[in-house]
Subunit: 350 residues, 4 copies
């Protein structure tokens, strides 16, 4: 097939830069348009962006002229990725969808909209049918798809096999989150060097709610959310990339640690056979070494798209505890959105 | 009163060095004897120790000759503090107690002995009466008292007011532990720089059991342990000092977050009026700033002897969640043992 | 004597907060006025400041109402400490001096003014006579005194004994500077965690020029600057406090390493007998352990007011190399200014 | 050509593991034999090694049986890479060379031997002719080639264009070295977290001597060493990979900063046209951004084989200062040895 022309909204931010890095040499998508704030509009991307990725800025984008984030300036793209800040995403993403430009967004603004899919391709690919309920355009040409919070991705990816096999009663999760999750400049070094900050504003409410939609059932009316309670404590640690989660789960039907390991190992990803370029061969890697997973060693596994799980064991409170970890700005943000776009291509929405 | 002559066993190790630093200028205790391995015996402490404390080695100990850890070489002390490694503590501490030399130990070896007090002065001071059940000597002159694991101290100190006011059904705790807890050289920098290690060998079993003895009731037979289940996940983070705990508690009698705050604020420490030199004015400090407590900012509060608590809130799973933090090598180790010794003086055991 | 009433300009910033922390319980000075930007003026200090010090905000200042930084609002103080940003210090400090309010400043703006003392009490106390040349007021009641850049303090303090004993031909210095030197929020954690940044804007030119004035000779005309060349490379490292310097010096009269050690040890501080409260007993501490000094172990030595020196050795290029280190925000900033104020009291200028 | 069978001595150590990681999928070399200490001999590599690389252990080596480091057990290899500890390298490497097995070593032991090439392919490829002077075997089938210290590689690589164009009078270098340079477990986290250690045992003498051999001229007698003086200060910083150097150089023929930049840019690598698989397209990358190079951003450039240079400027002492940085365990160790082997293949020595 010929490649799709993709625009990036919020192109100068940390998530926008990650989109650019990950889309370099993508077999299906070519970046042809970059959008940012008025301050940057008109400049070349090289001028506008304070590039923070560890690889050089691709020449293919460095020379592109940054546009304002208005749909009228993006009529030459097939769709856009949105790395917009939540303070502006609501109106801008609506503008694009209403203009018939599909929006594949990492912003939180439309995640709770009952007609907008909150998508992890390996978990709830069927939810993309929600798109048909969207009314941004008369002909359905414009729509919005979102990916979850960066902690929710490894949490729900690891819970899904248990949810299918045993059912879930309750979840307690403490997250130790990397500084890259706060963007740039983000966390001040004086706050985090040799320290742990036991609070991340707005994070815990997402972790306690988004899994219910992701694990929900699609029916005529829409998504019937899952309903088990979740308790979340979100902390910041001096780690560059990779959110680590200490998870304790209560199961509807009791299971041993080995039952849980088998459930994860035998779990079949519904997109395994679709040949999506960014999909990891195995969505979950189970580590047997008690010291693993670790963010510095495993965040980049399978190009940062794999969820690592370890220390699966039976517990005295609830039933099962384990460690889960994934790359927060790849699998948990830009990479997840790109995988969503790949699924949407395969399913004929793009 | 005239000062007590104290010996230190394991004087060259990390805990031993902390004992020496904290006892410098202590109003009641003077270090008059140092014990270490055969490798060090005979050398001056200056020669034998690889001093890692951030203050200079006190001249008062630098010139002392290091002795072997055998009771016969310590007949000039009133008691000993033990910072011994658990691999040798069982026999050595027994040797000293049997020789009529009280042992106030930070080692884990005798913590589970039904006749040995596992002591946090603010929590279970009455447990020192267990000493009378010890049979190391006919005349009761020799005995052993222990302090808990460094995670257990802030956990139980913060749980005690809730246990008294509401009763406890269950506890889930994830600890983010400082590198100093592993001693020296301890954790390799390649393992922890910019990383989190989700496992600490042997730690979780202590966290899941020691609180039951600490919160147990003393009766004729001994200690009737508390019995609620505890789930622990112990992780290592790149922090120098201060173990942080994310705690979720189920209460027997339901209580609101403000009930819990009141319970902690109104809780009366049983040793408040004893005038123990190392006792903090308030054993628990409640932070209202959501960003607190943090190890780098608060581990040294009240000379490292105070437990900091924050983010007290109601939760969807169990009842209450909060953050607790204390200095692991001061309150959680040497400082805790010194406070035990001060209580034993006041109670007439020394 | 009765205590002096001191005001603090730039009180909400990182340097201002350090002034407040260090002046708590100062025997000579009481903080009676706080000045900050219009944004803060009118609020209590507790409301206005994002307190970042590791000790609680002193109640004595928390309730003070923050004033605008205009002399008219400070007629109740004996003098002011200035922690102002260089972008505003020129006009504000001139306003205060012109109004007869002495300004003891940490800002760089007047350091190069030929009538303004650039002062390290142990190095060039006689330079305070420059004050008499200032023309801010007719009666000389208003004047400005400054302290040097935070790298220059340990550099010149360690060079002074060599300058007096052997003369100096040339200096090459590479500084590894702590993040606290950039204020708050200052350095982004994504820039410095597990990293070194080989550039600090504007730093090197100060390091290459300020020592000449500090080591200059006072005569009728003013200061006759020293004239040896200095090469500086300023880098940022992931350290909280303490700037470390690798120094290589060329001497006018050749000297061995032991000659240099003797010169530093035998050097007499000109203020040793003045009884200044913030003066360290020995301005320079020479470490014999090759691994020392280290910022984390030694930055706080003598309340952060001592310069640590180590690894003094002869070299193949120029003559002598050594390591120097001092606390950048105490000795290198607020603490240095406070010591200047103490000297000015003793000398009768306050 | 058919692939060469390579053995690795010291295979379980940090350098040995890096050899294994870098040789995975190498087009010319296949690992067919692993040697380690008696403790490991007989075990499979999976059993024997505490694998610390961030990628999984290659299955191709995991099953290999570890051998003793004696030549008799390696008669099936074409040559060996040596990552041996210097405490044992002298005898073992001699044993292999004497048995007719070429040794390409990262150990320091033979670097100063007048008949052993100390080699950086881009700097002194002609030095390999020294091999003909070696007498380990009568037929010349066994010999030793070494690569330099990890600081010396970026130092000499960046000095070479200046040495050729202007000549060098003197060099002052301060190195800020990554923890991976100390191997595993190596540096204790309590020593380096949030700290700088101003001393690395044995390092400075290598930095001050090895450049003279590398820049020396080959003649009938052997290598005529370069003779300019070098002053080195070696420090350890909390960085995972990448040694950064602050270099100040005195030139024989004065040159401006732009002359130096031109000299580096126009410098022709003598191996540019040989098509060596591990050779970076450009041995030196010149950064124009004053904030660069940085270890975390640039250590992995060109697979960790490129030397990054920045901040080239004229100075008041000597002539030119700049920053140089390279990956210490890749370009500075295993990767450098592999490039040496590739050159030896092209030159017909293998």
């Amino acid at each position: 097939m010929s490649k799709f022309n993709a625009g990036i909204l919020g192109a100068t931010g940390a998530v926008g830069q990650k989109f650019i890095r990950l889309l370099q040499n993508h077999p299906w998508f070519t970046i042809t348009a970059l959008g940012a704030s008025e301050r940057s509009a008109g400049k070349t991307y090289r001028e506008a962006a304070n590039w923070i990725e560890a690889v050089p800025m691709p020449d293919t984008v460095a020379g592109l002229s940054v546009r304002n984030c208005v749909s009228g300036e993006f009529d030459d793209v097939d769709f856009v990725f949105s790395g917009l800040d939540s303070s502006v995403a609501t109106d801008i993403e609506k503008d694009f969808a209403s203009a018939g430009i599909p929006v594949i967004s990492n912003a939180k603004n439309y995640r709770t909209d009952p007609t907008v899919p909150l998508l992890i391709p390996e978990v709830n690919p069927d939810h993309i049918e929600l798109i048909k309920k969207q009314k941004f355009t008369a002909d359905g040409s414009g729509w919005i798809v979102t990916n979850p919070n960066c902690v929710v991705v490894p949490l729900v990816t690891s819970l899904k096999p248990l949810y299918d096999a045993f059912g879930i009663d309750a979840v307690v999760v403490t997250s130790m989150q990397a500084i890259s999750g706060a963007g740039y400049p983000g966390v001040a070094s004086l706050d985090i060097l040799g320290n742990v900050v036991p609070y991340i504003g707005g994070e815990e409410s997402k972790v306690e709610s988004e899994p219910h939609k992701l694990l929900g059932k699609l029916n005529e009316e829409g998504i019937l959310n899952a309903s088990f309670p979740i308790q979340s404590t979100a902390t910041r640690v001096p780690v560059e990339n990779g959110h680590m989660l200490a998870v304790t789960v209560g199961l509807k039907n009791k299971a041993s640690a080995s039952d849980v390991i088998d459930a994860m190992k035998n779990w079949q990803s519904p997109i395994a056979d679709l040949g999506l370029p960014s999909a990891p061969p195995f969505p979950i890697k189970i580590h047997e070494d008690e010291r693993y997973p670790q963010p510095r060693l495993h965040a980049d596994s399978e190009n940062g798209m794999q969820t690592a799980v370890g220390r699966i064991r039976e517990t005295r409170v609830l039933d099962i505890s384990y460690i889960a970890m994934a790359h927060n700005t790849v699998r948990g943000a830009a990479g997840g959105a790109i995988l969503n776009a790949e699924l949407l291509v395969k399913k004929g929405y793009l």
